[in-house]
């Protein structure tokens, strides 16, 4: 049996070994950034290969480690996101302690893989904590900058409180069902009127995940963390952590709490987790989009838009069922790739101009057509315009939600989401306006008029030089977003097909 564990958990083991190696390398050759990055990237590639070689289906220790085509797919997605983050971090994070940074990133990745690959509450919690603790440190990694420390502290305080809620909720559910395996819990719970104890456990568990996916009103950490944390950390928090959280949240509610789904249909609300998630979704869409309108910092803007996107993504879970879950998984995946790309552009602009306010993006088109073009793709995909991935993702998600409610019961939520994405176009266009329409004189004028502090002024005006890897990463991410928009069928089929064992 332990031999099985070793072979089935080989990808995680490889990543762990890589983390340790990178840590040691970083200690030995403190300044060899490229060596550490190369080793970490190679480790990720090996782990991906190991995932591909896993058997189709396997279960260990009553669901503690589950392998299905779906978990393998999402392990690969998490690993890919980690890979892009490593490439992104190469030229950015301070040259000191790069080994430690990568080691933390890899540990967080193991946490994500555990989250994806388990259907057992304890392991899920361990995965949550492993991810969370690594990410807290990564958020505060930039020791010389107070904003980074603020980001780390806020993320940690909110995160640990949320974890406490989750753990308490899980313990209540364990108390009621006597088991920690999701499928067993699903069998124990019945659709009887919900007991107060179960309701408490349910809500507390959901709070923890609402924090992870930055759904309002548990989103307050997001703006400061996205803005203050080192860009690669923020990118990974916004992408990898989110994908895995949505994946595991979906598993918990659909498998574990399946019988107490409830209904969020307008005229036929039934108690359960669906109305709770629907309320979270509605609030996130409204708050995220409205507050994002007022932002002048691109990373903060992305943070609030992330809140709104968490709201859209929840729609699929509220709808439930195979199609709803598939839509959620599709959307969160493309969202993650888009956001890594967007943070990549932000990171490079920040490196060149010393900041990431809208003003620093002025006239970017003339300084780097590549960055401008990629940012256009990412922003328009987030806004949900065709032919980009975000458009198809939204269509898939919203039609799944409409289909689920029975007689268009979820129409109210879909209409709200569409209203939200209408509002969102304004702020995404504001970014593009800075890039394509404003000229650099406008930025200088803003400084002169005192609209922007002198210290925030963009530092250089020349062409932005990118090395090959940076170009390649952005182009690949841009093409992925474009390709998944024009030919989404492959990923959709893959997700739907591997979902078949689920309800």
């Amino acid at each position: 049996m332990y031999i099985d564990l070793l072979s089935l958990a080989l990808p995680e083991a490889i990543v762990a070994a890589t983390a340790l190696t990178v840590l040691a390398l970083g200690l030995a050759h403190g300044r060899r950034v490229d060596v550490c990055s190369a080793v970490a990237a190679a480790g990720i590639l090996f782990a991906t290969a190991a995932v591909l070689m896993l058997p189709e289906e396997a279960t260990l220790f009553g669901g503690m480690l589950v392998i299905t085509p779906l978990t393998s797919l999402f392990k690969i997605i998490c690993l890919t996101l980690a890979f892009f983050t490593i490439v992104l971090a190469r030229g950015l994070s301070g040259r000191r302690h790069h080994g430690e940074f990568l080691a933390l990133l890899l540990l967080a990745t193991i946490g994500l893989m555990l989250l994806v690959g388990s259907e057992e509450l304890l392991v899920i919690f361990i995965g949550l904590e492993l991810t969370g603790l690594s990410l807290y440190v990564m958020a505060g990694f930039d020791k010389t900058e107070s904003r980074s420390a603020e980001a780390g502290l806020k993320y940690f305080l909110f995160g640990s409180t949320a974890s406490a809620f989750t753990l308490f909720g899980l313990s209540l559910i364990y108390g009621m069902s006597g088991t920690t395996s999701l499928s067993a819990i699903g069998q124990k719970l019945t659709a009887d009127p919900i007991l107060p104890l179960l309701a408490a456990g349910l809500v507390m568990t959901l709070i923890g995940f609402a924090f992870k996916i930055a759904a309002a009103p548990f989103h307050l950490w997001a703006p400061d963390t996205y803005q203050g944390a080192p860009v690669p950390s923020a990118a990974f928090i916004a992408s990898g952590s989110k994908v895995a959280s949505f994946f595991v949240l979906g598993k918990i509610v659909l498998i574990g709490f399946g019988p107490v789904h409830g209904s969020a249909a307008w005229h036929a609300m039934i108690g359960g987790w669906a109305p709770v998630l629907a309320a979270l979704a509605a609030l996130s869409i409204v708050v995220g989009n409205l507050v994002a309108l007022a932002q002048s910092n691109v990373r903060r803007l992305l943070a609030y838009s992330a809140v709104a996107h968490a709201g859209y993504t929840l729609l699929g879970l509220v709808a439930g069922g195979r199609e709803g879950f598939a839509a959620t998984l599709f959307y969160t995946t493309i969202y993650a790739f888009t956001l890594v790309g967007a943070f990549g552009v932000v990171a490079l602009v920040r490196r060149e101009t010393g900041g990431d306010d809208l003003i620093h993006f002025s006239a970017l088109w003339s300084r780097s057509p590549l960055l401008a073009g990629c940012m256009t793709i990412f922003m328009l995909s987030l806004a949900g315009l065709p032919p980009l991935a975000g458009f198809f993702g939204k269509f898939y998600l919203f039609s799944a939600a409409l289909r689920a409610g029975g007689d268009h019961g979820l129409l109210w939520l879909v209409a709200l989401a569409l209203l939200g994405s209408f509002i969102s176009l304004y702020y995404y266009l504001a970014v593009l306006k800075a890039i394509f329409v404003n000229d650099s004189e406008a930025a200088t004028l803003d400084v002169a008029l005192g609209r922007v502090g002198l210290t925030d002024r963009p530092q250089s005006r020349g062409l932005i030089k990118l090395d090959f890897l940076e170009r390649a990463t952005l182009v690949v991410l841009g093409l992925v977003v474009l390709f998944l928009g024009i030919f989404p069928d492959g990923l959709v089929t893959m997700i739907v097909a591997s979902l078949s064992p689920l309800p």
Partner: protein, 494 residues
Amino acid sequence: MIAWTIYITFAGAFGLLFMPRFFARWIALATALAGFTTSLLAFLDAPHAGSFATVVRVPWIPSLGMEFHLAADGISLTLALVTGLTAVSAVLFSWDVEQRPNEFFFWLLLVIGGSYGVFLSADLFLLFVFYELVIVPKYFLIAIWGSTNKEYGAMKLTLYSFLGGALVFLGIAAVYVTAGKGDLVAGLDLQQLSRYQFSPQFQTWAFPVMFVGFAILAGIWPLHTWAPTGHVAAPTAGSMLLAGIVMKLGAYSALRVAMNLFPDGFQMWRTWIAVLGVIGIVYAAAVALRQRDLKFVIGYSSVSHMGFVLLGLATANALGLGGAVLQMFSHGVIAALLFAVAGRMIYRRTHTRDLDTLSAMGLGRALPFAAFCFVIASAASMGIPGFSGFAAEITILLGAWKTYPVAVLVTGAGMVLVAAFTLRALKKTFFADAGSTDGETTFLSSSDGLAPITAAEKCGASLLIFATLAVGLYPKLLLDRIMPAVEALRVFKP
């Protein structure tokens, strides 16, 4: 063959991005011409204009049932033709764009390609993809190359379009779910959907959602305000495309999708559409009468003319619908010509569009060709017999007489207003007695120094004038293609 309009235009657009700037306008012109020729040949060679005949059909997203499905009937072909026509002249009228020309023509061609796509799509999802594709290029065209409050105008126009898009999105998702009935593999094929019977209760709310969503782009009152501001802010080619093609996207999709899928809903709501259309005609004409900026006059005239289209659609008889399609063509040509004269021929030379300032310049003598074009366009716009505007509007009014006699009376009053503001603009711009304005006799000698009309401008204008005359004198040319297609629509089937 008609499908090549789409491929050529998009290929040209992306090719442009990698070409040296010197070639930009030539490539754009070649692309637009190729698209126009294709659409013209396809239009002339259309024996079965009555049926919405498939041109290309390839599975696209099989797991959800979407297809890359293009089809064309007389209506599509007519509108593809006006797209090609306007595209060529829009490129000719932006021959002098020196600032970031590659980007400019890239966005321009995206608008054109997207429009071809909308007119030829036979899959609702595909249609919507093209429809939304047009939104963002408009923003950049206006915000970067525009004039007069351009960033405001661009954002307003884009948000209105996207609001319409959001409504349509809701409608499409609802159609997809309802027609699919839990079955994953049932797509959004328009030919199949137009045979599907939606429940009357569903049509009651789905029709207005979808119709209004599309009609925002067609400038339906009271959601028309994006049009004048957007047209004024846009660069000349942008205004030409906006008024000439983009507003038709809304009207065409309202006809092809909203009305054709929801006949019951349409019957229920059509009186309201007629009312809004008539209000649009009269109100916009009255507002145009008070404008000081020449482009605002034309912008409001566009809203007024699109009111005719809505009225024609609301009549629910073949005459009215055919007239509406004819009006889409006619207005496309006339509005493009008017904006070309105002934006390129006048504004680029005098740097003012203020009617009072213009009237002091004696442009009639300085720019006789511009005056000639503007007279023709004005005459066509007023509905003088012999021009396309007359043929279209008389057909619509004849159709409306059968269903809404009162509307015809009100519209008649509106047409007087149209004549009034058109003549006012014409007189002030070109034929003012210079001495009489504000008692100032600044007969600007600078008008002698105005650059002469270039060959590109002459070509572009001649093309449009020829089109409006040809259709005005021989409307059968278009009506032969339009009427069978209109009669085949579902609106007339019980």
